[in-house]
């Protein structure tokens, strides 16, 4: 297998090549760095490439592996991380010009865990400003979808999606507040897994919404995501809200199949005639495939889900406006116009309405958890259409009706799980007639990431969508 082919292979294959010393970590890292140099100008996936650090880590990994000190499947594997995670001495911009020169003096816990696993850090990946969807002019260039360079690579971990789809890392850690790892997974033909809130430490993560932010893995396969989640999950005393729930072996059940699992298809999110017909067909095909694997599927109604978009905007945007309270007053011109208008609007929401939204959030959560008492997982589309063009995404919202259309309805797919603190993943399930990736979503109860991964892995035994690579390659 050539180096180029290995760069596009699942992490598990790269890990095996490293373990058996079919390739060294330095060789693999150099190959990725050369590919980044060649292709990053096209996809703008990275803000900062940490070549020296990566090669130093790769040399250390090779020495350890050669001496018999093998740390596990991530040892020597080159990965990228969203530029929302603090890296000591390595600039962390949050995708904003306002933090162009910010050098953290400590590593995020997620970074420390990746280092302990022996992973090699290729660099900091591009993102929407401060993890808020809607950046119009990315200060570090607009990340582009390797499947179609005129289209977005997803919100807001766009660089992570673009990098992985373009073969510029073996896997990545992004972040998901309201869909920010699942959306790139959806439009870049990847598996993006949002963990249960509290599953992964938020220490050293630039804050978006304090009650929804979760660092999240994105990979080419369910197993790749399982490996990445294994490395970064777990209680952290530095994050008061991180869970002490034991971390299971996420790979253990991947081959178990899904015969007998009970799956609920969320009625309120079913696509109607207004949706893209290719998306609708792909999602229906995914559900049929799951039934073919022996899962039982029935419809479930979650009426409050149709409020998720407005609740998310009311809560998450207000939380973000609080995070940027000083900056909005002292340096409003430093924000991207899309970010600024979103934060300014949120700053004007009365506190009483924020509290009402939080109450409604509890009702939504209760409804979802109750439903998940009858089902092992729930299924929905990821969106009603494939990736937007960069031009569509960057257009200002010129009317109230346009805000309603772009801000709320599209968020009903991903934000319910974030609001409820529940895990969910986007899984590749087909392509549009224009060869744009389509994904479907699997969500589950608290700390049921293993169930989600099991379903994804089973699905990937009878489909090959996830094996297909972007034409850029």
């Amino acid at each position: 297998m050539t180096d180029e082919a290995l760069l596009l292979a699942p992490l598990t294959e790269q890990a095996e090549a490293l373990r058996t010393r079919g390739i060294s970590a330095v060789e693999l890292t150099q190959a990725y760095l050369q590919r980044i140099e060649r292709l990053n100008p096209k996809v703008l996936a990275y803000i900062t490439v940490s070549s020296d650090l990566a090669l130093a880590q790769a040399r250390a990994a090779d020495a350890e592996i050669a001496s018999g000190c093998y740390r596990g499947p991530l040892h020597g594997v080159p990965v990228g991380v969203k530029d929302q995670l603090f890296t000591k001495g390595l600039r962390t911009t949050g995708g904003s010009a306002l933090l162009r020169d910010f050098l953290p003096d400590y590593d995020a816990t997620v970074i420390t865990k990746l280092q302990q696993a022996g992973a090699v850090l290729l660099g900091k990946q591009n993102m929407e400003e401060f993890a808020l969807r809607g950046t119009r002019n990315h200060p570090y260039g607009d990340p582009r979808n390797p499947w179609d360079l005129t289209r977005i690579a997803g919100h807001s971990s766009s660089g992570s999606g673009a990098a992985l789809a373009a073969g510029l890392c073996a896997a990545a850690v992004g972040e998901d507040t309201g869909g920010s790892i699942r959306n790139p997974g959806n439009v870049c033909n990847l598996v993006g897994l949002r963990p249960t809130f509290g599953r992964v430490s938020r220490h050293g993560l630039l804050q978006g919404s304090w009650s929804m932010d979760q660092a999240s893995p994105i990979g080419r396969t369910a197993e790749d995501c399982a490996l990445m989640l294994q490395a970064i999950a777990g209680h952290d005393p530095a994050d008061a809200l991180s869970s002490a729930q034991p971390t299971p072996d996420y790979r253990a059940g991947l081959q178990a199949g899904i015969r007998g699992l009970r799956l609920g298809v969320i009625r309120e999110l079913k696509l109607d005639g207004s949706a893209d017909p290719d998306v609708r067909a792909a999602v229906e095909g995914a559900i049929a495939a799951l039934q073919g694997l022996g899962a039982s599927v029935e419809e479930i109604s979650l009426p409050l889900i149709n409020l998720a978009g407005p609740l998310f905007v009311a809560i998450a945007d207000t939380d973000a406006a609080a995070v940027h309270y000083q900056r909005l007053r002292e340096h409003p011109e430093g924000f991207d116009q899309g970010t600024r208008s979103r934060l300014l609007a949120a700053s004007l929401l009365p506190a009483g309405l924020y509290a009402r939204a939080q109450r409604a959030r509890t009702l939504l959560r209760n409804q979802m958890v109750q439903a998940l008492g009858r089902f092992d997982a729930v299924i929905s589309p990821m969106s009603a259409r494939p990736a937007l063009t960069l031009e569509e995404e960057a257009a200002p919202m010129a009317t109230k009706e346009e805000v309603l259309r772009r801000q709320f309805a599209s968020r009903n797919y991903t934000t319910p799980f974030a609001l409820a603190g529940l895990p969910a993943a986007s899984i590749p399930c087909g392509f549009s007639r224009d060869r744009l990736p389509i994904g479907f979503q699997v969500g589950a109860g608290p700390f049921a990431e293993a169930t989600i991964l099991r379903i994804a892995a089973a699905y990937q035994t009878v489909t090959d969508w996830h094996t297909q690579r972007a034409p850029l390659n």
Binding site: S211, A244, Q245, Q337, S341, A345, L348, L363, A398, K400
Partner: protein, 65 residues
């Protein structure tokens, strides 16, 4: 579609000024649309039994459990 309160861009500008924020003329139309759209949508909460729910952002089963 619900119909929210009739809020003008002048209202938005005044609200912002009261809170120590400045909104440029270029930003004002979109900020106005965003605020009015959100207030419009949040009127949908009026039909819910909100008193039965705590405004919890973190749920006991996960937080520190």
């Amino acid at each position: 579609m619900t119909t929210g309160p009739d809020i003008s861009s002048e209202d938005i500008s005044l609200m912002a000024r009261v809170l120590g924020l400045s909104i440029t003329p270029a930003d004002l139309p979109e900020v106005t649309h965003r605020v009015t759209a959100l207030l419009d949508q949040l009127q949908r909460l009026d039909g819910l039994d909100l008193e039965s729910a705590d405004p919890s952002a973190i749920f006991p089963k996960e937080a520190g459990a």
